[in-house]
């Protein structure tokens, strides 16, 4: 269906950043908002309206719980073309035997139950199926799942925290967060240590529930981590996800959102700092399958050093039933040195024109020399000027997240990373 501005439902483009869908509603269109695009970087995007290449057709197999339903990837598939398969330690081809150990430390406030349940527990797998072979492998391989239940109407004053500390070797896992109607919770998963980890995380939000989920990837540089995050957002519920990736050799995360009813809201934020040799990949999917839901995606990353590689895929699908949708997605990358590479691909698929608004933006740039000059002209040595620009770049997003206690932690984390690296 071709969107028709006269029929209403289209909001005016946001200042300066949006593609104007009303003018470019044909098939696909390249997104160009590059400033000083570094060599080797790729910032493309597409808006597809009933086009042949869609999120579904791009995948090499339909979602499934069974690893056997997915062919072993060879690297040219759409969903694998940016990932260094040879560094996945066999998570993708069935050779990774679960012989490792990971120390798990869960702390939950009173009223919250934490259970270890067998694979056939009915609460597993409700938020979504694995969408690629690695996620399916994790689903097929875990022995026991963890189910964390926040009862309905419980408003937690303390966060639920899960600390996973890798002690080497391959592990698989599965965690379900079952959030009752009108409950409110902050959930934090911290990842540290050395691990080859493939684990999926599910969130099932009851009507009107409010969840903030923070996932911090602070692994050792040797770690490999793949995870699919599925959130099923109940009617009028709010899900806020904050993904912070600083560590790990290869990190590949798939945060995904579906709506169980109208009025749901998803905010997906991400920060990454990709150093030399690191591969950090964030692949988001917001599936607007119910009317009057909102989604807002904002990921920002800084890269530095030889072979630092960040990948950001932002897929949004507005299904025919999802009238009244309001969605926006943004990715910004700051490339600090030569030798780093960014692939940023926003995709927006629209099956109804009866929406409030839809837009996306992606930009990858180098340091703005004028900013450096301005700060240096105020006496700041170049290294400090650079640090303040990077800090500001992230602070803008951190301010937007709107959680004071988390803000502080993130800023401290960024400061540490900056002190160690931007010299």
């Amino acid at each position: 269906m071709r969107p028709n501005p006269r029929r209403g439902g289209w909001s005016p483009p946001r200042p300066g950043k949006d593609l104007d869908l009303t003018q470019k509603a044909s098939t696909t269109t390249a997104m160009a908002e590059a400033q000083n695009l570094p060599v080797g970087s790729n910032t493309t995007g597409a808006i597809a309206v009933a086009a042949e290449s869609t999120t579904a057709t791009r995948m090499s197999a339909p979602p499934s719980f069974d690893v056997a339903d997915f062919p072993v990837p060879h690297g040219r598939e759409e969903e694998w073309r940016f990932t260094p398969l040879d560094r996945l330690k066999g998570l993708h081809d069935g050779t990774a035997q679960a012989t490792g150990t990971i120390k798990t430390d869960v702390s939950a406030p009173d009223g919250v139950t934490v259970e270890s349940v067998p694979r056939d527990d009915a609460r597993i797998g409700r938020a979504g199926k694995p969408i690629d072979r690695v996620a399916a492998q994790a689903f097929s391989s875990f022995e026991k799942a963890t189910v964390v239940t926040v009862p309905k109407e419980a408003v937690l004053t303390e966060p639920v925290t899960v600390h996973l500390h890798g002690e080497g070797g391959v592990t698989y896992g599965h965690t379900v967060f079952d959030i009752g109607a009108f409950a409110e919770a902050v959930i934090v998963i911290d990842h540290t240590g050395d691990a080859v980890r493939s684990a999926n995380v599910e969130f099932v939000l009851g009507d009107g529930a409010k969840v903030t989920f923070v996932s911090v990837q602070d692994w050792d540089d040797s770690a490999v981590h793949c995870s699919q995050h599925n959130a099923l957002i109940g009617r009028d519920a709010t899900f806020k996800s904050v993904v912070v990736t600083f560590g790990g050799g290869v990190v590949r995360l798939n945060p995904r959102v579906n709506y169980a009813g109208p009025g749901g809201e998803a905010e997906l934020y991400g920060l990454y700092f990709t150093d030399s040799g690191q591969h950090q990949e964030h692949r988001l999917m917001v599936d607007h399958d119910a009317p009057n839901c909102r989604s807002n995606v904002a990921y920002k990353g800084a890269l530095q050093g030889e072979d630092a590689h960040a990948v950001w895929i932002g897929d949004v699908l507005i299904q025919a039933a999802a009238t009244g949708t309001d969605t926006y997605e943004l990715n910004r990358n700051l490339v600090l040195t030569d030798g780093a590479r960014v692939d940023s691909v926003p995709n927006l698929e629209i099956e109804t024109g009866e929406i409030v608004g839809a837009g996306h933006a992606s930009a990858t740039g180098r340091f703005d020399d004028e900013q450096l000059f301005y700060l240096m002209a105020r006496g700041l040595p170049e290294s400090e000027a650079r640090r303040i620009v990077v800090r500001g770049f992230f602070a803008e997003l951190v301010q937007q997240i709107g959680l004071p206690e988390l803000e502080e932690r993130l800023i401290t984390k960024i400061e540490t990373e900056l002190a160690a690296s931007v010299a």
Partner: protein, 254 residues
């Protein structure tokens, strides 16, 4: 007494057609406590002079010298020049997203003064300086230059001038785009700094309007990349009457 001495300064800028010479032998000496107005038509190279003195990488010095009390300014990096006491109030200051004005001011003051100002006196100092420039206190929590109006940007530049107390202040078209009220407020700020007697001021402007508020000791007419004529405040009156025509005719401007 500190002296800024510019001798036979030649500067080029890279253009599509190769390097183009913008400054063609500028001679100027500014002493602490003096105010020099540099006036000239568009494209005469006034702003190039300002940015070259501050060390903007876009401009290449191909000849001449700039000395601050005998020290070679051209050998210094941008930040070294700032710490040596050269301040450039920019015509188009850039946005620095995610960096608050208060954080920015304190970071600059720390860099320029060589130590972090004591928090209690600093907060008071900033608050008072902002009040004098009729800047809303909420301004301190905004990100640097982000969404600032033209007038706010200029006030913010002069706020920095007042707080950083340089030896030499270069004001690049600080008057451009200001309405009369803003022009008065900004000029008063500049005058407060001048009254201390510790700053040498280079006031770069296209219009004589700001000279009604800031009285220069010397006026220089800038044309075709160099100083074409120098005089006292009366030269500004002549320019007010006659414009720049006399200086631009007889050849294309740079």
């Amino acid at each position: 007494m500190a002296t800024l001495e510019i001798n036979d300064l030649h500067v080029t800028v890279e253009t599509d057609g190769g390097p183009t010479e913008i400054l063609r032998g500028v001679d100027l000496t500014v002493k602490q406590g003096e105010t020099h107005a540099i006036m000239g038509p568009n494209g005469s190279g006034k702003s190039t002079l300002a940015y070259s003195l501050a060390g903007h990488p876009k401009y290449t010095v191909t000849g001449g010298s700039v000395k601050l009390d005998g020290e070679d300014v051209l050998e210094m990096s941008v930040d070294e020049r700032a710490r040596a006491g050269v301040f450039l109030a920019m015509q188009y200051p850039v946005e620095v997203p995610g960096v608050s004005v208060s954080n920015f001011l304190r970071t600059s003051a720390t860099a320029i003064r060589g130590e972090a100002p004591k928090l209690r006196t600093w907060v008071k100092e900033v608050r008072e300086a902002m009040e004098r420039l009729s800047i809303d206190p909420a301004f301190a929590e905004r990100n640097v230059n982000e969404g600032f109006s033209g007038g706010e940007k200029k006030r913010h530049e002069i706020l920095q001038l007042e707080l950083l107390k340089p030896q030499f202040a270069i004001l690049d078209e600080t008057d451009s785009g200001l309405d009369v009220d803003a022009l008065r407020v900004v000029s008063e700020g500049v005058n407060r700094v001048r009254e201390g007697g510790d700053v040498g001021t280079l006031l770069i402007t296209h219009y004589t309007r700001i000279l009604r508020y800031i009285k220069p000791d010397f006026v220089h007419v800038f044309a075709k990349g160099r100083i074409a004529e120098s005089g006292g405040a009366e030269l500004a009156d002549k320019l007010e009457e006659e414009g720049y025509e006399e200086y631009v005719k007889g050849g294309a401007t740079a």
